[in-house]
Symmetry: C2
Subunit: 234 residues, 2 copies
Amino acid sequence: MANPIEILPVEGIGEVVPGDDVAELLWDTIAAGPYVLQDGDILVITHKIVSKAEGRIIEVASDEEYRAVIESEAAAIIRRRGDLVIAQTKHGFICANAGVDRSNIDGDRVVLLPERPDRSAATIRTRLEAASGATLAVIISDTFGRPWRRGLTDVAIGVAGMAPIEDLRGTTDMHGRMLEVSEIAIVDEVAGAADLAMGKSTGIPAAIVRGMAWTSSPGRAGDLVRPASEDMFR
Amino acid sequence: MANPIEILPVEGIGEVVPGDDVAELLWDTIAAGPYVLQDGDILVITHKIVSKAEGRIIEVASDEEYRAVIESEAAAIIRRRGDLVIAQTKHGFICANAGVDRSNIDGDRVVLLPERPDRSAATIRTRLEAASGATLAVIISDTFGRPWRRGLTDVAIGVAGMAPIEDLRGTTDMHGRMLEVSEIAIVDEVAGAADLAMGKSTGIPAAIVRGMAWTSSPGRAGDLVRPASEDMFR
């Protein structure tokens, strides 16, 4: 029988400031809460607390300065309409404002994406595996829009410990027919699932996804970036 | 304290054929399984069994006939590269092959999207609410690709009972600052979460998502279609 999957909110992390040790904060918060990390758990962390801990915060005194930060974070501008900029970040992700975010931060400061989110995820994973003794995966998430469909969803921008894509190519369905739909961006589905337990304004910056089968791998959210040569929508 | 969310696989639905009553099949399957439908449950159903029950199956004798079916299902062709067609369906969704799918179906037949997936979802919801006495939402899902990011994720193509988008505009974060990231496509995150329990080749065509707060509404996946005038990527 297939197992149920659980999404467990990690509550009680206070305000994170530059220099904080996110792995330690997460460990202490989980230890103080009702859940114990188990083998196979995926810890999904909103990038905001990682960025803040890493000091990826910039003061902006005006809209002009805000726009200048976006330009400096962008590797390429994909589209521009009015104040809205769709840009490719230096990591390769394509999103609004090159990932520079004004919400969920006090005063006139903006939060940038972590400089190397895959590395941040790997560091947190190593620390939490050592502390818990459990085999874990870690996903760092952000909230992205997408073409064609209204609304935003959470996706993975950093991954450690698990394959970001479940490649079902070469496997067959229950009729023995080769599967056409075959490369599932499993970490994006996990990031979105975790968001259901995190919400946007409730102060729950992480969730544990438990009970899911996943493929062990160093992991790299960078692998989710579709090469420009394969992309029909740039 | 925030509640955990559970994703419960609905197992044991056999092969679905035209004329089957999907609501009854789902009800019987859930009744035979370990879970009882509860107030607030969201039932996510892969469109494949809905389409099959509704007779949305066409025999194709050749690749040419397959391509002809795609053309007839498409309201507009968005991009074409080699054999790959990105098309807008008559519902407004933009996806590969106008949603015409060759996998998970026996012989030389293809499965089309339900003609009116929101109506299909509403019918299933009404029936299951009557049978269970519980207040439910229903989502019909499909697996779509997207620009810029590799891999596919499940999204909602039919919705009944819940608001497809959680509109957080006008709400503030914990610093009292207006949220910028504000329109969350919650039903797409739920569809992706359910896929984690369903897999692609395991014969689990539905899952119950339990423990999530959602906004009651007639619901309409059609509301997820971004109007062409607002879309920068067509």
